[in-house]
Symmetry: C2
Subunit: 285 residues, 2 copies
Amino acid sequence: MPELRRRVAIWRQAGESVAVVPTMGALHEGHLSLVRQAKAEGGRVIVTIFVNPLQFNSQADLALYPRDEAGDAALLAGSGADLLYVPEASDMYPADFSTSVAVAGLTDGLCGANRVGHFTGMATVVTKLFLRSGADCAYFGEKDFQQLRVVQRMVRDLDLPIRVIGCPTIREADGLAMSSRNRRLPQAARAVAPALYRLMQEAAVALEAGGDVGAVLAETGAAVLAAGFARVEYLELRAEDDLTRLERLSRPARLLAACWLGEVRLIDNVPVRAPAGREDRDAPC
Amino acid sequence: MPELRRRVAIWRQAGESVAVVPTMGALHEGHLSLVRQAKAEGGRVIVTIFVNPLQFNSQADLALYPRDEAGDAALLAGSGADLLYVPEASDMYPADFSTSVAVAGLTDGLCGANRVGHFTGMATVVTKLFLRSGADCAYFGEKDFQQLRVVQRMVRDLDLPIRVIGCPTIREADGLAMSSRNRRLPQAARAVAPALYRLMQEAAVALEAGGDVGAVLAETGAAVLAAGFARVEYLELRAEDDLTRLERLSRPARLLAACWLGEVRLIDNVPVRAPAGREDRDAPC
């Protein structure tokens, strides 16, 4: 860490701004888009790679998480990143490590429902990476939309001196949201996978046209299963800003889903615009 | 907050270091000693006053906490403090505030045993005050010894860029540890109060002379009650560094107590040196 802080101090003395892009490695075009957007702002860019044991709720899932250090370094070479920071777990978490950062409310449901401690582990490591790097701003993908909102809330609540910027989800040509987990999809499943985004887009169109929220969600869930997915873990309409669950499209919203394709869990989300004149706070008509 | 950050930025640009002394007001000589020690280091000193609702486990205790803004300001006038920062609760905690910082282990027992959420509330507000002030170092009294250790652990664990300095407890002429709560002692109780420190010092001498830990603690607890205290909430020997409970004086230690004198809860602690040659890790002889 002293080396990281030293580098950042030198940049800062030279009047340069510093951005950080926290990742768990197994980099893909989605991560690179964050690095490019950070670089486009004109300052220095730190990419961190740390597969954070605190945010996995099983050792098996942690062991399965894809790792590709050589591939990551090669991808980053032409990306504009100024520094790759890859801390050791023993350095991040000494034996008597005992502090946690938790965000209540926003972490209920969605990806928080079935992953005990996931968001607390994420918030804790992100706090550490923000403070270790001393960066002015941080870039996160909208793909992990709940994570983005949790990080933004945490930064505001703890007065962390950093600006959090959410960036659009990057997709394959067929619409599948890029994810490190996509590497684990067998070929047949890979062919099915884009159906999730396609059906979610259709649902967003139906909702924006005034479709009943409950009916559209039920139909979309059934269509996802019919397309070949094994299970819908969640498929929900939530408020864009604070992730309140919406029964009616009364505010700008996100449709968020986690669905299992065989053994692989895919998540995605799409914006849903509230019709003009209906931007009330879920009040009765 | 922007005004606070602006002031600190100006000091920092001028090459000055910045210290923060977080308090809950009702200032006394103990707080002023922290300000003087901070000032003696040569930089700027920020004193914060914030009676943190998160760290009280009852509204009644929060309402009873002494407040004396005029007296505080008068005391600080000649102390060397450069800036008094008194945030509003609504500014520290907006309505949808939802983040907490918790430290496990160190907060078990002692002052953590009967005060649910106390240390989490303290750690959360101290994190905010550290980050809002952007200070280089922070001064805390050893009077709240467990609090000092919790803050030090939290700073290390979260990589907060601040140095935490513990300062000796300041006492009245008769030995009573200074505390904002002393104001609530009726005259008769005030006369009894110094017995706690006197008996703890005697216990420390007995322990350093090789006295049996269990026997010395039992005798001291009985003597505290005999002196006129209503209840011994805790009286324990703990390791100086990580607050491990000690059955034998095998490492440098602290004797820590919380005792009730009528309606007022007093805490104190004294160092207990481990005899030379006995600095093992509580291993069998």
